[in-house]
Every structure is written in C-alpha cells, then in structure tokens.
Amino acid sequence: MLLAYVSLEIRRTLRDAGFVIFGVGMPVMMYLLFTNLGVSGSEEDKAASLAAMIGMAAYGALGSAVSTGSSVAEDKGLGWLRQLRITPMSPLLVVTGRCISGSVTVLPAILAVLLAGGLVNGVELEPWQWAAVGGLLWIGTAPFTLLGLGNGYRLSGQTTGVVNMACNLGLSVVGGLWIPSAVFPGWLRAVSEWTPSHRFGQLGWSIADGAAPRAGTVAVLAAWTALFGAYAVYAYRRSARTP
C-alpha cells in the first residue's frame, strides 16, 4: 500500500517538466556557469569549485525538498487529499508516503550536481567523501521537506508555490549556498550562521575538508527539523479539520 503510493508520487514528480528543468537542470547549469566563467585553474579556484559544487547540490536538494509541499497543495486543490482519506490508507501512512517520495525526489538534483562536479569540472574527492557528501545532503533535506509540507497543507495551491519559492531562494542565498557567506557583511554572516540552509551546506563542506560535521551544525539542524516538523503536523491537522 505504502509502496504503491510512493511509486505513484515519484512518477508524478519526475514527469513534471517544471521540476526537472528548475529542480535539477537549474542547479547544474548555475554550478557550471559559476565555476567556469573567468576561472584560471589555480588551487584557490579548485577549492571554490568544490565549495560551489556542494553549495549548488544543496540548493538543488533544498528546492526539490520544498517543492514536495507545492505538489501537496496542488493535490489539495484537486480534492485528491480528501479522496485519499476515503481509501483504506491511514492519514499517517499518507504523510509518511509523501515524506518518503519527497526524499527520493531530492536525489536527482544532488546526484546531477555531484556528477557535473566530478565529470565536467574534475573535482577530486576520496570515494568515502563522495558517498558522505551525497548521503548527508540527502538526509539533511528533512527540515526543508517538512517546511514545504507545512506550507502545502496550510496554504492554497498558488500561495504555496510563491511561498515555497521565496523560502527556497531566501534560504539558499542567506544560507550562503549561492555565494559563500564569507563574503557577506558581518551582520548577514551572523544571521546566516543560524539558518538551516547554511548548516545544511556545512554538512557537505566539512566532509570536503576531510572532517565530520561539527556538533553545533547538527544541533542547529535538529532544532530546525523539530520546529518545521511541528509546523507540518499543525498544518496537516488544520487542513484535515476544514470541510
């Protein structure tokens, strides 16, 4: 039952041209542009290319994770969520299925950017580092999936699209996924430290440095996950209440 639902949702997402172009194609294209225009090939550039690869993979994953919520809002508008409630699937199973399918659909963005880094830009990492970067970025999307779901359950379809887009861009930029936060003015850098997106990127950046993520990073991410999780549950309950 769960498998049937997850596979249905994954198919629907991967057939969405908008998702494939903006969720997967865009991060790859931005990564290749940022790292190949006016680059001399120095050691410094290599480090920047590595950091950008992780930043763009994180940006792509974040966008895909949040967009899970946009399709939930779309389903709500079509009456599909109500229809699901009168199938034998329990609400918990429906939400779990959405989280699983959402977590699978973030993989293409991560893998596409990492592949572009390794094959096109010649980024060199140890095999364990590749695996750890991919794996941690995958797990780390949890808070963003929950944020997107919360918006999707609470808001109408169109509003969700706009709000999720704003969340995606805002978090990515302020979190330093596009431009390293090291070049931010002091106050913005301080804000950036506390964003889930910056800590999300750090999961990958610390692995690239050959170190495990710091406890602070994990703690901040866990706190955001708990907060967005509570928001998603609250939003789901509210959406179930309204006729």
């Binding site: 079509l78 009168i86 199938t87 699937m89």
Partner: protein, 319 residues
C-alpha cells in the same frame, strides 16, 4: 437483511447553520438509494459524515455496524466526492491501479476500467480527458477497490445527456453485482430511474423516504394555477386529480395528478381565469414534500411564505 448505513439523529452544524439537523436513515445491504435535495440541502454534509470526513456534533453515524473510519480502513467503502478532479501526470490505468492496491480485495484493474467504460483511454493522462471521461475516472476510483458500499456525491453534475446515460448504465451494472449504492442528486427523474428508494433531504432533515413511484405521486404531476378574483377556495381540493391546494395572493395553485380532469372541472365551475398548466418543478415538489412532513410532525412549516391548505391527500399516500 443487514444494515449497511445507519444515521441516528445525526447533527452537524457549521457555525449557526445546521447543515444536517437530526437525520435518521437506514440503508440495507444491496439497496440503491438516492439522496434527493436542492443545493445546500445538506446532502454533501450527510455524505461527509457517512464517510467519516466529518464527525457528527450529536447523534451517531454507523457503517456496517462500526464507525465510518473502521469501515473505510477495512476497504468496505468507495466514494466519488463532489469537485474532485483527476490528478495530473498519471495515466488512467496507473491511477486506478494505485487505488486498487490500497484495498484488500480489489477488482482486477481491467475489469474496473471496463465497468467505468475507460478501457479505450486507459493509457491517456488522467488530467487530459473530457469532462465526461474525467467523471468516469472518478467513478472508477470509487469502484476500483470492489467496495461493498459505493457513495456518489452528485455524480452526473455537469455531464451532457449522452454521458449521463452512459454513466448510469455503468452504475446500475455495479449495483447489479449485489453492492449497496448511495448517490445524491437534485434531479427527481434521475433519482427515480436509478434508485430503489428516494430519500428527500431539505434543510438538513429527511422530509420523505419512499419508493420513487410514491414520491412522484406525492409530488403531483402538474401545477394548475388561475386567478381567484375573490371566489372562495373551499371545495377546490375535492376537484378531480387535485393533490394539494396553495393560495398565493389572489392566485390558486393546484397540484394535480390529472391536470386534464382538473381543468375540465374548473371550466364547469366557470373558474378559468388566466389559467396556466405547468409541470411541477423540483422546487414545487419540495414545497409539497416539506409541507407533508410538517403536517405529520406538527413541526413549523419550513419554507412557509405560502399557505398550504390541504396536505391530507399527501399524508394518506405516505401511509
């Protein structure tokens, strides 16, 4: 026969509006029942209580002797909700296959598609179909799990005549397998042709619950109206064919099962002044049915900006 659906004094209010206001209803296994009512009469709310999408504020709703939730989880219910549209980016077959897989003992997908008349479009995207085909997809979603009870909320709204007939053919085929069917509609003819029993709902209450034949007779075939010009109204109810008499201002409205006989009798008495004969609309039907229920229950007449002088004929027929 076992009881499939039972409402016991069920009440559901949204703010000050009592959308379902003390409904008692029993549906036995294998019955085809129509829930007939105007827009806003409480049909959809009653259905959402039945499916466990809403909880009653008071009273009780049971399905197969348990709660609606239990019956839904056990896969004994399938439903076609109002305003549902097929989801994008899946084919018809994929969608029906998914729904079938959520049920414990579903119909074979090919059979569900066949029953709903979707075999030819099974490979097409569910969101790129005509209105009639989309409606069939929603019907297939409701029956894919092979549920014992199928609930259809205004299944033919926005369908053309052709699509409507095809839809009811499919529905009757499903009912003929021994399944229980409950559907809502605001067309009396549709209820009469496709249900064994019609439950008329008005203002959140059941105002009539009978076979289509009796309901139609109670409603009366035609409405004969004419100017009274001050003549007394006594005796009008005794005229041939007359089922009920209403007076609106200086005009008499006679509901008649035999309008020819009624008009001839009026002519005999020289009462033909500005006479019109029209088919009784559903609006008229509800007026007579609600008047009937109020005379039986001694409750205040619900829609009373008109005077209903005689409802005894209706009441007798009900008994």
């Amino acid at each position: 026969m076992t009881t499939t659906v039972s409402f016991t004094r069920a009440v559901k209010a949204f703010g000050a509006v009592r959308a379902v206001d003390g409904v008692d209803l029993e549906i036995r296994r294998g019955e085809s029942v129509a829930l007939l009512g105007r827009n806003g009469a409480g049909k959809s709310t009653a259905i959402s209580l039945l499916l466990g999408l809403n909880e009653p504020d008071d009273g009780e709703v049971r399905l197969f002797g348990g709660t609606p939730h239990t019956a839904v989880r056990a896969g004994r219910v399938g439903a076609m909700l109002q305003d549902g549209r097929p989801i994008p980016r899946v084919t018809v077959r994929e969608l029906i296959t998914f729904v079938a897989r959520t049920y414990p003992s579903p119909l074979p997908v090919a059979e569900a598609l066949e029953l709903a008349g979707l075999t030819e479009v099974a490979g097409r995207r569910a969101d790129r179909l005509s209105g009639g085909q989309a409606q069939r997809v929603r019907f297939a979603v409701a029956l894919a799990g092979n549920p014992e009870l199928i609930v259809l909320d205004e299944p033919t709204a926005a369908l053309d005549v052709e699509a409507r007939r095809a839809f009811w053919d499919s529905m009757r085929a499903y009912a003929a397998r021994g399944n229980t069917v409950l559907f809502s509609t605001h067309y009396l003819e549709e209820a009469d042709e496709n249900a064994d029993r019609i439950v008329v709902i008005d203002r959140g209450r059941v105002v009539a619950d009978d076979s289509g034949e009796r309901i139609k007779r109670a409603v009366g075939g035609n409405l004969v109206s004419f100017d009274l010009a001050g003549t007394p109204t006594e005796g009008l109810r005794q005229l041939p064919g007359v089922v009920s008499v209403e007076v609106r201002g200086d005009r008499a409205l006679l509901r008649s099962a035999d309008s020819d006989a009624t008009v001839l009798a009026l002519a005999d008495r020289g009462m033909v002044r500005g006479l019109t004969v029209t088919a009784a609309s559903l609006e008229d039907a509800f007026l007579s049915l609600t008047a009937q229920s109020s005379s039986e229950d001694a409750a205040p007449a619900p829609a009373a900006d008109t005077t209903v002088e005689n409802t005894t004929a209706l009441a007798e027929e009900k008994v």
